[in-house]
Amino acid sequence: MTIHADHSAPETAVEDQAADVRTKFGISVEDYMLPARHQIQMVNPDGTLRPHDEQGTEPGHEYPTPSDAELMAAYEQLVVGRRVNDQNSALVRQGRMAVYPSSHGQEACQVAAAMCLSEGDWLFPTYRDAVAVMTRGVDPVEVMTIFRGDWHGGYDPKEHNVGIQCTPLTTQLLHAVGVAHAAKLRGENTVVMAMCGDGATSEGDFHEALNFAAVFHLPVIFFVQNNKYAISVPLSHQSVAPSLAHKAVGYGMAGERVDGNDLVALLAVMDRAVKLAREGSGPLLIEAHTYRMQAHTNADDATRYRPDSEVAEWQAKDPLTRMKSYLADKGLLDDAASNRIAEHAEAVATQLREGLGEEVPVQPLDLFKYVFAKPTPQLKEQSDMLAGELAREESAK
């Protein structure tokens, strides 16, 4: 469905769109763009399936349940993701890695964001989305290069179509838009997943990215992990909109809210979003309600700004235990499967421990090597100067 507006005749434009939407979904254009009144949630925190009419869906906002095979594959990644988060945090505590912004508690979002994509699609992650990056297939040790301090990035973005993990907030959303735009101009069928946090939605680049994607009608899914905090700042200081998904309306796109700790709902919503986008719906905005269970990074002290009781409340909504009971109840997850999955997770953890155990010697002259594709005489001169210093140091030994 194409939502488009011709503002030179504002009244009729809205009516045209309304007609479009009414045909397809039987609802008004605003009801299409506004998120459903409740977040989409399919599985309760205790792992039981919610009755269909309590899943939060509405006309135009209906989601098929993912297949068993998809659920099992996703659950496996969920377990691996949790293990990776905890392994990395341990490595930081041991001083083998310098910093790690853990997505502990948000792994369902991480897994869904990566798994809903096809091979040729692209993913644009933030610093917190290491698990999504790995789920997409990037080597775990390469992902950790940045957090270990060896180099700014460790993987080749083109190998798995994953942008660099981005620190300047929301700048990557525009890169996602550009990648989608280039693909569209070449007639390629690429969907782009653009990730950011709740705090990041306040940045100007968030606005510009959503608007560019909408105006150029690009297949970009903007996926906001609303984990309730931007470092210490609670969401109530970022926005007083009814929800972050409501921001979609201002760009003429559709928004949706989903329980970010419910992997089933996430897969359902994200799969459909990717399908719509690939079919030409234009961009979509999805807000996932989740929670950052640990501090912002190891350098942060979360007890300064949030009560333990709040953390405990979210502990009860853990995406992992929920999915585990759901699958067990459904008869999909037996002990054998559980063990196999646990072994897989352990193998990845071992890979991380071993990969990060080796001290890789740094190459000082790399400072100059990659600044430009075509080097400059100035950098040659500076590189020679450093080489000279190093040689003198070496011979002084």
């Binding site: 692209w122 180099w151 700014h152 990035g153 080749d156 973005p157 083109k158 942008g163 660099i164 300047p168 700048t171 959303l173 525009l174 890169h175 996602a176 838009v177 550009g178 990648v179 989608a180 735009h181 280039a182 693909a183 101009l185 070449r186 100007g204 680049d205 606005h207 510009e208 990215a209 608007n211 560019f212 105006v215 790399d366 090597k369 990659y370 600044v371 430009f372 594709a373 075509k374 400059t376 005489p377 100035q378």
Partner: protein, 364 residues
């Protein structure tokens, strides 16, 4: 919004814009020498690059149907279609950020910032991504992108339309910074910038858009196809023996005028057109200063912590014992760019350059 005043002695901009448009519309296909504006040379460079490579895209504010407020992209949408030359929403960070993504995904974007000061909303994208992407990914992602910035004064523009912003970019590691001063260099350097796998801040001296020269486009095209490069190569715009004037972009014609005036008084000034600020041509510049023993650096930008400071610093580092006098600077004052009726007092002028040359301790 461009203000013209007779006080400032500048050309009428609306008329000039119309002229540029008219000349841009005229095809420039002849092979022999012809009279061409810099506007047309830049326009032709983009058109040639777009013809040669379908991944070259042109976008920005008003660059499509209107052909840009200075008409530099005139006719590109008509020739190459709305897919390859198009208007974006009005958001500079958006334009640059989207261009980064396009460059990641195989395109060669050539984008226009409408005026110098309107590139500032894109500063984060330029400094934190355009400049760093190649380095951060160890060359896995290239940034073959040109950011065209009409810059500097001399056209009677109101505030925010006349900033000399080149020093911000030249100070940013990872950006190349080009600025042509002649019509031929307009063509040459823009084609080279578009060919470059490195991001280029392409600073266009807007007061020179309507300057004309006799150029041979056929020869320039052949030169381009032969791979001739101006990156890191300053030009000796006028040879001389007594002192060196080092200038770039909008200040080159002023420096040449000063040299011509000095010649009448019997003083032989060499004029160097730096052409690319990054990389910088130490060799040519220092060779000249070693020869003349005296130098004045000329730039419109505020002097403080600028490209002109850098030129002074590196020349004194490399040619110290050849210097008969301190290297002096004639630059814009360290004040916000003034209103049209006052810009005349702000801009480096022939008189101010000659005063500086006189101050080069000729009696010592």
């Amino acid at each position: 919004m461009t203000v013209t005043t007779t006080a400032a002695g500048t050309a009428n901009v609306s008329a000039a814009t119309a002229n540029a448009a008219a000349s841009a519309a005229a095809t420039a296909e002849a092979t022999g020498p012809q009279s061409l504006t810099m506007a047309k040379a830049l326009n032709t460079a983009m058109a040639d690059a777009m013809r040669a490579d379908s991944s070259v895209l042109v976008f920005g504010e008003d660059v499509g149907m209107l052909g840009g407020v200075f008409r530099i992209t005139d006719g590109l949408m008509a020739e190459f279609g709305e897919q390859r030359c198009f208007d974006t929403p009005l958001a500079e960070s958006g334009i640059v950020g989207m261009a980064v993504g396009m460059a990641i995904n195989g395109m060669r974007p050539v984008i226009e910032m409408q005026f110098d000061a309107f590139a500032y909303p894109a500063f984060e994208q330029i400094v934190s991504h355009v400049a760093k992407m190649h380095n951060r990914t160890k060359g896995k992602l290239k940034m073959p992108m040109v950011i065209r910035v009409p810059y500097a004064g001399g056209i009677g523009g109101v505030e925010h339309h006349c900033d000399s912003s080149e020093s911000y970019y030249a100070h940013t590691a990872g950006l190349k910074v080009y600025t042509p001063a002649t019509v031929a260099d307009g063509y040459r350097m823009l084609r080279e910038a578009i060919d470059s796998d490195d991001p280029v801040m392409f600073m266009e001296p807007k007061k020179l858009y309507w300057s004309k020269d006799q150029v041979d486009l056929g020869a320039l095209r052949a030169e381009h196809d032969a791979g001739t490069s101006t990156e890191g190569r300053a030009a000796v715009a006028r040879p001389g023996t007594d002192a060196t004037l080092i200038a770039y972009g909008p200040s080159v014609p002023t420096a040449l005028a000063a040299a011509a005036a000095a010649a009448e008084e019997g003083r032989s000034l060499e004029v160097i057109d730096v052409r690319t600020l990054v990389p910088f041509d130490d060799e040519t510049v220092c060779a000249s200063v070693r020869k003349t023993g005296r130098a004045v650096v000329i730039a419109e930008a505020h002097g403080f912590a600028s490209v002109s400071s850098e030129i002074v610093a590196r020349v004194q580092e490399r040619a110290f014992h050849y210097l008969a006098a301190p290297i002096l600077r004639v630059t814009g004052f360290d004040v916000p760019f003034p209103s049209p009726k006052l810009e005349h007092y702000y801009l480096p002028s022939v008189d101010r350059i000659l005063d500086a040359v006189d101050d080069l301790q000729w009696e010592d």
